[in-house]
């Protein structure tokens, strides 16, 4: 039946109808992992035994006539910076190589309550810092559409596992584009929710004012189903809120786009954005026009400076958040040291990779005496300005459409020695995190080499239902559905 290729919505229907079991699904997913993981390298940990036991339990309950949540029995991959009690959570870092959390993240508890089956923990850039998954201490994940190319990052393992049908759903985290950029590179769908929509409790912090956990899948419907499971206010995360929370985002998928106004922010179609990407996104805007939406040009003038503000704010917060990794209470401790300070320095120097050290040092620099006003304070002022510009844009339209990334997936190794070139991959996505908005990345075509192109739909705060319905309308209008590429 090739259950591993099915969407979550299809599997939910089959499970409810009794035409397959959770055990069959999980076995099929592991068979696919056994077949392709050697080439894709998406997973850091597999939870085969626990997943099969959980599947058997779900089958037993369903057979006993219990009414289970719609996604009960559907397999999911979890990014390795989301704490899973009793299952290693490494953040793809030597620093946390042996870390087994004593508790689970709120989202992980919610997955379990909803009966989703965690297949394993997936690779990422170390501490979510990177755009290619090449910063992982353990392995380099490949793009299933072309194994010589990166899957994007930092949630590259999540996107690659979905693209290779090694998982039906996935959780990622997004601080500057880490869900959307890999979703675009791998031809899958990823949503960065509004800041506060999903609890961050148990997500290893990178930049606390920007981080969000979000759902990924192979269709907008699947992403809507997973979002319904993970959103809600959580008393363990003071920034979480249930403002505009929807119990079932799938119920909003059929909102009509006719009569909506779609904004094209001109700054996202300029220099550096490949012609093929621009054409594909503009063609998607035309699809919305054909569906009865009005397409209007808008402007977010500060876009050009967003990358600067992003690296100031995110690195400053990272330098503070990552100060906790000192070899004392958990994580890596150096073997050789003489004093306590020595132990801190040696543990951090040996435990962190290059990119993490660069960001910690950048953050330390912008927060250091004499530079705070010149950098961090200016970055926060920029944040306010950018929020105002988005508010003005949303006064003229319902959502914005832009490229997710200026190009399609680049080659492994292409940008590793040039951090600034690597950072530019996030130019279309960072504004969303700075302004705390929701944004969806979904496929909108392929380039001449057959690599997926992603478009980004950006909405006003808590406008996830609108974005998902717009994405769903596009999928229906174009007859799009995910096709598993030939791997290798």
């Amino acid at each position: 039946m090739e259950l591993y290729k099915k969407t979550a919505a299809e599997l939910a229907e089959m499970l409810a109808a009794g035409s397959c079991t959770a055990t069959e699904i999980v076995e099929d997913i592991y068979a696919q992992i056994d077949a392709v993981e050697g080439q894709v390298d998406a997973y850091l940990t597999l939870c085969r035994e626990d997943a099969l036991a959980q599947a058997a339990e779900i089958d037993r309950r369903r057979a006993a006539g219990e009414k289970l949540p719609p996604l009960a029995g559907v397999p999911i991959a979890v990014k390795d910076n989301i704490c899973t009690e009793g299952v290693s959570t490494t953040c793809a870092s030597k620093m946390l190589e042996n870390f087994v959390p004593p508790y689970s993240a709120t989202v992980v508890d919610k997955l379990r309550q909803a009966g989703l089956i965690t297949i394993g923990k997936v690779n990422m850039d170390e501490f979510a810092m990177g755009s290619s998954c090449e910063n992982s201490h353990f392995k380099k994940t490949k793009n299933p559409h072309d194994l010589t190319r990166v899957p994007g990052g930092s949630s590259g393992g999540s996107a690659a596992a979905l693209a290779a049908c090694e998982a039906t759903l996935a959780l990622g985290s997004d601080t500057g584009g880490s869900i959307r950029q890999p979703a675009a590179f791998c031809g899958v769908v990823g949503l960065k929710p509004t800041y506060g929509a999903v609890s961050r409790y148990g997500l290893v912090a990178f930049a606390s004012s920007l981080d969000q956990i979000g759902p990924m899948g192979r269709s907008c419907e699947d992403v809507a189903m997973l979002l319904s499971v993970i959103t809600s206010k959580d008393e363990l995360d003071a920034t979480s809120t249930d403002c505009a929370h929807r119990d079932d985002y799938r119920a909003y998928l059929d909102q009509d786009v006719a009569g909506m106004r779609v904004g094209l922010p001109k700054e996202y179609f300029g220099e550096g954005v490949s012609q093929e990407v621009q054409s594909a996104v503009l063609a998607a805007a035309d699809t919305y026009r054909r569906l009865g939406a009005e397409v209007v040009e808008v402007s977010i003038p500060s876009t050009a400076h967003a990358l600067s503000a992003y690296y100031i704010i995110s690195s400053a917060e990272a330098s503070s958040n990552l100060a906790r990794f000192d070899g004392v209470k958990y994580g890596y401790r150096a073997k050789e040291y003489e004093s306590l300070t020595d132990m801190y320095v040696n543990s951090r120097t040996e435990g962190f990779g290059d990119e993490v050290k660069r960001r910690i040092m950048l953050g330390t620099y912008v927060l250091s005496s004499g530079y705070f006003d010149a950098y961090y304070k200016k970055g926060k002022a920029f944040q306010r300005q950018l929020c105002c510009e988005f508010e003005q844009a949303f006064a003229q339209c319902d959502f914005l459409i832009t490229p997710t990334v200026p190009t399609t997936a680049f080659k492994l190794g292409e940008n590793v020695d040039d951090p600034v070139a690597m950072y530019k991959s996030d130019i279309c996505t960072v504004t969303v995190n700075i302004a705390g908005l929701p944004a969806l990345s979904m496929p909108c075509g392929k380039d001449a080499a057959g690599l997926p192109i992603g478009m980004q739909l950006i909405g006003p705060k808590f406008g996830e239902d609108k974005l998902l319905s717009a994405g769903h309308a596009y999928e229906k209008a174009t007859g799009w559905h995910y096709a598993l590429p030939q791997i290798g």
């Binding site: 870390f99 004593p102 508790y103 600067s308 690296y311 004093s339 620099y365 950098y375």
Partner: protein, 90 residues
């Protein structure tokens, strides 16, 4: 712009090896050049947006995580305590 990498690394509790020094210096300079392009902003208002106000929990005593469970991940433990090098001289 000249950045004192050794000083920054010291503040960050990191050590940059001599062989890596030039590479870090160049990369940090490139990154700082990029972030320096941020223009001056006027009318900066640092007050939080009331719509984003955080709600704090009631301060209630509740059972916490068992000590052994927390210490299970510590690199060195003795008699229920984390062991670190001596910090006070006699």
């Amino acid at each position: 712009m000249d950045i004192d990498i050794r000083h920054i690394a010291k503040l960050a509790n990191l050590k940059i090896e001599e062989k890596d020094f030039a590479r870090y210096q160049k990369q940090m300079q490139d990154i700082i050049a990029m972030v320096e392009s941020l223009p001056e902003q006027k009318d900066f208002d640092q007050r939080p947006d009331p719509a984003d106000a955080m709600e704090l929990r009631e301060d209630i005593v509740k059972p916490s995580m068992p000590r052994e469970k927390l210490l299970a991940g510590a690199p060195q433990v003795e008699a229920g305590c984390v062991v670190v090098p001596k910090t006070v001289s006699e």
